[in-house]
Amino acid sequence: MTAPPVPESAPEAAAPAPGGAARRRGIPGTGALRETGQLMTLAATTVRDTFRRPFQVRELIEQFWFVASVTILPAALVSIPFGAVIALQVGSLAQQLGAQSFTGGASVLAVIQQASPLIVALLIAGAGGSAICADLGSRKIREELDAMEVMGVSPVQRLVVPRVLATMLVAVLLNGLVSVVGTAGGYFFNVIVQHGTPGAYLSSFSALAQLPDLYISEIKALIFGFIAGIVAAYRGLRPKGGPKGVGDAVNQSVVITFLLLFVVNVVLTAIYLQLVPQKGA
């Protein structure tokens, strides 16, 4: 992550001395700051270019379909056991405390507010983001992106914007699916496996959960989708060297996204819990 910025690909140029760029850089840590700054710049450019004509509708639909198709099934499959684990864990804890009747509310809140946006983001970063990063990276090393710029077409506007919008849209929609499937899984395990009562599950649900919980869940998914898309694009646009560099870039994009997701999740959760009064509190 702190590696020196790559000198733009120059296949035939005098090859730069290894570490040449690193030596020019004085104070340690500036590399990380520079990378962060460039990531932010890309994010800002992407937001700006979203509103610039012509909007790439076709590319957006294609990317949306692609990201959705690689994430829907895994997301659903992951969310069932995830809902189940939370239901089982919360169920047994609540039983120890003698609060079985609140199991439903607690596990649903955990699924909707925390588990669902994270599952969605991890899958989008892992399945969609890595593919986006590899795609952009291989286009970069084959000079396709240079060719595009030479033709006066901005790769950010033409390629990055539709991809980021696609990951955001898919994240929001998929989050709804995962919430439903996760909640249903929790219900199934609590009621059928742990022999909880359906009535208590549902009534504690409506006693503790409220609509803003769903809103924050969707907002989180939207932001996570944006992060996953931007980080994938950022790494993809700057692979170091040849095909190996693209592989590394994909790897890094997934790891960086995961790290960012969890940090941002803490911040968002803290803000939400401060700002929105919880039901029954």
Partner: protein
């Protein structure tokens, strides 16, 4: 008529390694120029700097009033539409077939109808001899075809400035001659300013109006072709003669000992023979650049070395007779 490209004091380095420094030259409008140089002297970097893909640390590249180095990003994007760049390996979009590749600039930048686009694309494909291959993906065709498709794509917006990055690499001698002819024909047809980066001696000898050479991080020379072809600069002589003896070594520069040893090898001192420049194919209009270049060369007559003057006189003789 093509647009003039003015390069002033351009210096580019990667890290602490300077690629070339203080390059100053002017590509005369509508004329064909060639930039020579041994492998690894930053010819491609120079080309990419002209179009603003790489940003040199110092200097300016003025195209149509826009500085491609330090200008505003939006202006640079606008100005790039005046350029057509043929990449070394075509740089075609791997996910699109040849037709869509060549139609890409039209679809992005014009509001032409699909039938109109089809007509233009087919015309360009015919020009580079690719008719019938429009449905193929770039991965399914040979390197030479990819190059020609890259050329067709560079031409589709009728550029005023055409940059070619090693049009000959990976082509056999016959195809190289064809592409040389194609470039000259192109210049006759659209009168665009052209810069060809290459180390192919045939192209260097037959195609350009002007020649330049990069070596040891500097522009050794730039001027009318006769100046370089008759130059007694050791680097230029060695390169154009394709010899081992001279300052260019395998690893760019030779050490003193090798150079000293070579002092004893007698170099043949016969002046290089200048091959006449290629003419446009029959049926095409004459190149307008020829007249302009003549006026330009005559204006700088006093600064030219004697050998170059003799060569230019020899080259101009038939033209003068016609006018007499």
């Amino acid at each position: 008529m093509g647009i003039e490209v003015i390069v002033e004091g351009l210096t580019k380095s990667f890290g602490n390694q300077t690629v070339w420094q203080n390059v100053t030259l002017t590509l005369p409008p509508g004329e064909v120029s060639v930039m020579l140089g041994p492998s690894g002297t930053g010819k491609t970097v120079f080309l990419k700097s002209l179009i603003g893909l790489l940003k040199p640390e110092e200097g300016r590249v003025m195209v149509d009033g826009v500085d491609m180095v330090g200008g505003r990003e939006r202006d640079i994007y606008e100005t790039r539409k005046l350029f057509g760049l043929m990449f070394q390996d075509g740089a075609l979009f791997g996910s699109m077939n040849l037709f869509d590749n060549i139609a890409f600039p039209l679809r992005e930048h014009t509001r032409k109808k699909e039938s109109e686009i089809r007509r233009i694309v087919m015309e360009r494909m015919e020009m580079v001899g690719l008719l019938g291959a429009q449905g193929k993906l770039p991965g399914e065709i040979s390197g030479g075809m990819r190059k020609r498709a890259g050329l067709a794509r560079a031409l589709v917006l009728d550029p005023q400035i055409i940059l070619c990055d090693e049009p000959d690499s990976g082509l056999d001698p016959v195809r190289t001659s064809y592409i040389s002819q194609q470039l000259i024909d192109l210049n006759a047809q659209i009168d665009a300013t052209m810069l060809i980066v290459t180390h192919n001696l045939d192209i260097a000898a037959t195609v350009p109006d002007n020649m330049g050479m990069l070596f040891r991080r500097e522009l050794v020379a730039f001027g009318p072709r006769e100046v370089l072809l008759t130059s007694d600069e050791p680097v230029v002589r060695q390169f154009l003669g394709g010899r081992k003896e001279g300052p260019i070594g395998m690893a760019e520069e030779k050490d003193e000992a090798t150079l000293a040893a070579e002092q004893f090898i007698a170099l043949d001192d016969t002046p290089p023979r200048i091959v006449p420049q290629l003419q446009p194919s029959p049926g095409l209009p004459p190149r307008q650049a020829v007249q302009r270049r003549r006026a330009r060369v005559l204006a700088m007559w006093d600064q030219l070395p004697v050998a170059a003057r003799t060569a230019i006189k020899a080259g101009l003789a038939p033209v003068q007779e016609e006018h007499a």
